[in-house]
């Protein structure tokens, strides 16, 4: 008896669930090209909302801020996370387990707590609220993603490769640059992409630490949504969606490059 074959009803259930999952996304995309302002009936194809959007300076500035922030926090956390993961895998220090726990903590803490705590903490340190505080804040929750990915990759590596390099006379720095780093690179990339996506996605933490003048794209979207639905947001969301799909495709490729075991890797926290 084959118990592991899915029945037609089970497939229908999955189909409906996926349909509902994608419905809101589809609606946003469809109505961004709609002529009429009311998102009820599709009256005709038009790019008018995109034109309006690109003419909106505040919006473009927020987009630029988000991109800068995403790239910077991604780079910073890639350096900290990769070095950290490699370091952690080698050290025998007793603080290791605790440090690892604290480093991953930002993923476990509810976002709202992280946001409020950072706001109070930065205020105490007298840091000027703006790009700097946002960068630190985003790096805090980006580091764990890279740490986790690189760590998983390191655990699957052959330790003799590094040893061989050392035996052949390469110094620790050279070994890291020529052997370890190229081997973990796919994991660094996929972790960075994930981190970038999370940075572009974040509202809750950013809204506490952005300061009065600086706005990121998600914050802009959030404040606009609260006041009501406009087709420009549809256009904006569609562009963000396209960017996300691209990032996702790149991430998927990176995963493929790390070996054909992506299913196993997705189970690792």
């Amino acid at each position: 008896m084959n118990v592991r074959k899915s029945s037609i009803w089970e497939r229908i259930y999955l189909g409906i669930m996926f349909l509902v999952m994608y419905l809101p996304i589809g609606v946003v995309i469809a109505f961004s090209f709609n002529e009429s302002k009311l998102p009820v009936r599709f009256t005709g194809f038009s790019l008018v909302w995109y034109e309006k959007l690109f003419a909106d300076h505040a919006m473009m500035e927020a987009l630029l801020n988000s991109l800068i922030l995403g790239v910077l926090s991604c780079l910073l956390s890639a350096v900290i996370g990769t070095l950290g993961a490699v370091g952690l895998s080698r050290t025998r220090w007793r603080s290791r387990g605790l440090m690892e726990y604290i480093s991953i903590l930002p993923l476990m803490i509810p976002e709202i707590i992280l946001g409020m705590v950072l706001m109070a903490f930065f205020y105490m340190l007298r840091l000027p609220f703006g790009m700097l505080t946002l960068l630190i804040g985003h790096t805090i929750f980006c580091v764990p993603y890279i740490l986790i990915e690189v760590k998983a990759r390191l655990e699957g590596l052959d330790p003799f490769l590094e040893e061989a390099a050392r035996d052949m006379g390469a110094g620790p720095l050279r070994t890291f640059r020529d052997v370890t780093l190229p081997l973990v690179m796919p994991a660094v990339l996929s972790g960075s992409l994930l981190a970038f996506a999370m940075s572009m996605d974040d509202v809750v933490i950013s809204i506490f630490i952005n300061g009065p003048r600086l706005s990121t794209l998600p914050i802009k979207v959030y404040t606009q949504i609260k006041t009501g639905v406009t087709p420009e947001i549809n256009a904006l969301c569609t562009i963000m969606l396209a960017a996300t799909v691209l990032a996702f495709a790149a991430w998927y490729l990176c995963k493929k490059l790390t070996g054909g075991k992506e299913e196993d890797e997705q189970q690792v926290d």
């Binding site: 999952m21 009820v40 949504i225």
Partner: protein, 274 residues
């Protein structure tokens, strides 16, 4: 090599958390000021009926959403594990993609669907199912829909990953020995996928306590959750020590749930986070 990670983590992760703890015992002054005299008033204040109600309300919402996510997500993840190899890959990609999409965009899609002159009302009235448009948005069910929508993938992923590891021969054996579909499911499949279900519950419950922006966007600020209370105390209320005390309580609850989870799955990791 560890230096950057250690420095960064200690200063910007451990530091703020310790500061939060200290702050929760400080006295609030008017404005954004804080007076460093020790008090437990902030915690005592949480016991006032207004705030206890907020906690109760948050729990109720988290509980409702988690329960519904269980019922919808368990079959989802379980059925997915029964697909062919190729089907699994496709389903996995289809599941992960919305995970990457900004949650605001996804919630915004729901606003378009649910609003008074929105898609759903349009469909309902055209079909003649309802005379005048229903008020769907800015209501409790709308918040629950948003919560389910955002949290479902966590549940599906963790159920799926534990169903994948399941020993299907046991199910087969049970069926061969005469157990019906239902019986085999209840006595063999369900116990084996329990860790996934439990980790899904925890992964849904914890964030659902803090997702204040869903209540904000889809609920129109009608329902005050612990998350929105913290936000309000940080901004308009400008009582930071009280906000810190609320956050400490929430942190303690989160930690307890994670501990519970570790016990249940005997020290395993949280399953299924992307």
């Amino acid at each position: 090599m560890l230096l950057p990670l250690y420095l960064f983590t200690l200063v910007f992760v451990a530091g703020p958390l310790v500061y939060m703890l200290l702050l929760s015992f400080a006295t609030a002054r008017s404005g954004y000021g804080v007076e460093w005299t020790f008090t437990i008033d902030n915690y005592r204040r949480i016991l006032e009926p207004v705030y206890l109600n907020t906690f109760a309300g948050s729990f109720r919402l988290a509980f409702t959403s988690t329960l519904l996510v269980c019922f919808l997500g368990y079959p989802f993840g379980y059925f997915m594990s029964k697909l062919s190899r190729k089907g699994k890959k496709q389903a996995m990609a289809a599941l992960m993609l919305p995970f990457w999409v900004n949650s605001l965009i996804r919630l915004y899609g729901w606003i378009i669907i649910l609003q008074k002159k929105g898609l759903l009302n349009h469909v309902l009235t055209s079909l003649g199912l309802t005379g005048k448009p229903l008020k769907l948005l800015y209501s409790y069910p709308a918040i629950v829909v948003g919560m389910i929508y955002v949290l479902l993938p966590f549940m599906v992923l963790s159920v799926y990953s534990s169903a994948e590891k399941m020993d299907w021969r046991l199910v087969e054996a049970a069926r061969d020995l005469g157990a019906g579909r239902m019986r085999a499911f209840l006595t063999v499949t369900l116990p084996q996928t329990m860790p996934g279900l439990l980790s899904g519950i925890i992964l849904t419950f914890i964030p659902s306590m803090g997702l204040f922006f869903i209540a904000d966007i889809l609920g129109g600020n009608k329902i005050v959750l612990v998350g929105s209370l913290i936000q309000e105390q940080m901004t308009r209320g400008s009582n930071w020590p009280f906000a810190a005390a609320l956050a400490v309580i929430m942190m303690i609850m989160t930690t307890l749930m994670l501990k519970l989870y570790r016990r249940v799955t005997s020290g395993g990791r949280l399953e299924g986070i992307g």
